[in-house]
Symmetry: C2
Subunit: 228 residues, 2 copies
């Protein structure tokens, strides 16, 4: 396939004026009991950078955010959630009012089947946590009606292109941005990132840069495909 | 039993001059794969308040800290760790050089039996995570030689006194500070806390106050028992 390297800075000005964007960001926390939870290393920085860049480009932005230690960008409507089920409800109930959906959150794929009312005692040598699949926010929004333009993220540690393209097709997305979280200095909790953005027909590489620069470059790509 | 209410403020001045204190703080993160982990809602605020109060009271403080979003107090030696196994090693290898050990961290009782090298794919409808017990930092230090004076914490959501006293006896601790994390406005991630401190013979209640005030009160109690 064709992998193009965008070397020039892509700077949207007010290109997003009048466009409503829904963005999810951060990790989710899946409770096991009142004190324990399952989560992941997402810092939310990429999603918050996207919200900031979109707002600065003139978009009306709604940010559905899992638990992070970041200050929301000014002018952005923020909906705070904890679990994947909460994020699913917050995003799907708002998607029809938005033109573009960018699923940047690292949503937990699984949640414990049951949540204990009280702290589980460590009386046994082993603890088996049975987990069930969470609903798929990206796929549910991509299959909803009216359907916003749908952009997914794929955070993988191996075979990044293979899994990203599979996710694009399987979830019926318009674009998917893949990053290799196993590479040091980028991805989860880093200040910088690089992405490869796949559509059905091509792949564009956004080279390593600050997450805000990467966000601006991604938004430029999204706009091109959205307006097609 | 006797539960006394300490209504007066207990303010140590330089009472801890020359005393070496080892404190653990924060949660631990138990990796499942490169992106997922199991953790708990501890913010580390109580442990950091103890480190600050002890340092201000003249102690030489070592703080073994799990992943938190706090600035370490000035003058305190900080050892950063992620998992319970790392915290166990960091604390037990340093305990002999300290006079008092305060185990304030919310150490994960269990860790996944194996850590996947790559991100687990969500191909199955269910995921079963088999977990094994982590080593017990408090019990291992309380049974070591030379043995520091040992203070534990019990974060419980029910039968707080019962579980705290059981933990005191079973782990052979000198004191245990119990807080009811199910009460709103105190405990995990709150700015305030109240504690009930149990020794083998009595129980002292430290009423709801800022975590720094509660830390000072607890350190005063610790010193009384340590000097006995």
């Amino acid at each position: 396939e064709l992998v193009q390297h965008c070397q020039q800075q892509l700077n949207p000005s007010q290109d997003y004026a009048g466009i409503r964007i829904l963005i999810t960001a951060g990790p989710t926390r899946e409770p096991i009991d009142p004190v324990r939870y399952l989560s992941n290393h997402s810092s939310g920085k990429m999603g918050y950078a996207l919200a900031q860049a979109a707002q600065q480009a003139g978009a009306k932005v709604t940010l559905v955010s899992g638990p992070v230690n970041l200050t929301p960008p000014a002018g952005v409507a923020v909906v705070k959630v904890m679990s994947a089920l909460e994020m699913h409800h917050a995003a799907t109930s708002r998607s029809a009012e938005h033109d573009i959906f960018i699923g940047c959150a690292a949503v937990a794929d699984y949640r414990p089947e049951s949540v204990a009312d009280n702290k589980i005692k460590k009386s046994n040598d082993e603890l088996v946590v049975k987990m069930v699949k969470n609903p798929d926010i990206l796929a549910d929004i991509a299959n909803s009606e009216p359907r916003p333009f749908c952009v997914g993220f794929a955070a993988e540690t191996q075979d990044v292109e293979h899994y990203a393209k599979d996710k694009l097709t399987r979830k019926k997305l318009d674009l998917i941005a893949a990053n290799d979280v196993a590479k040091t200095g980028q991805g989860f909790n880093a200040e910088h990132n690089s992405l490869t953005v796949f559509s059905k027909t091509d792949a564009i590489h956004i080279p390593l840069a600050s997450k805000l620069d990467v966000a601006n470059a991604l938004l430029s790509l999204v706009l091109i495909h959205y307006k097609k």
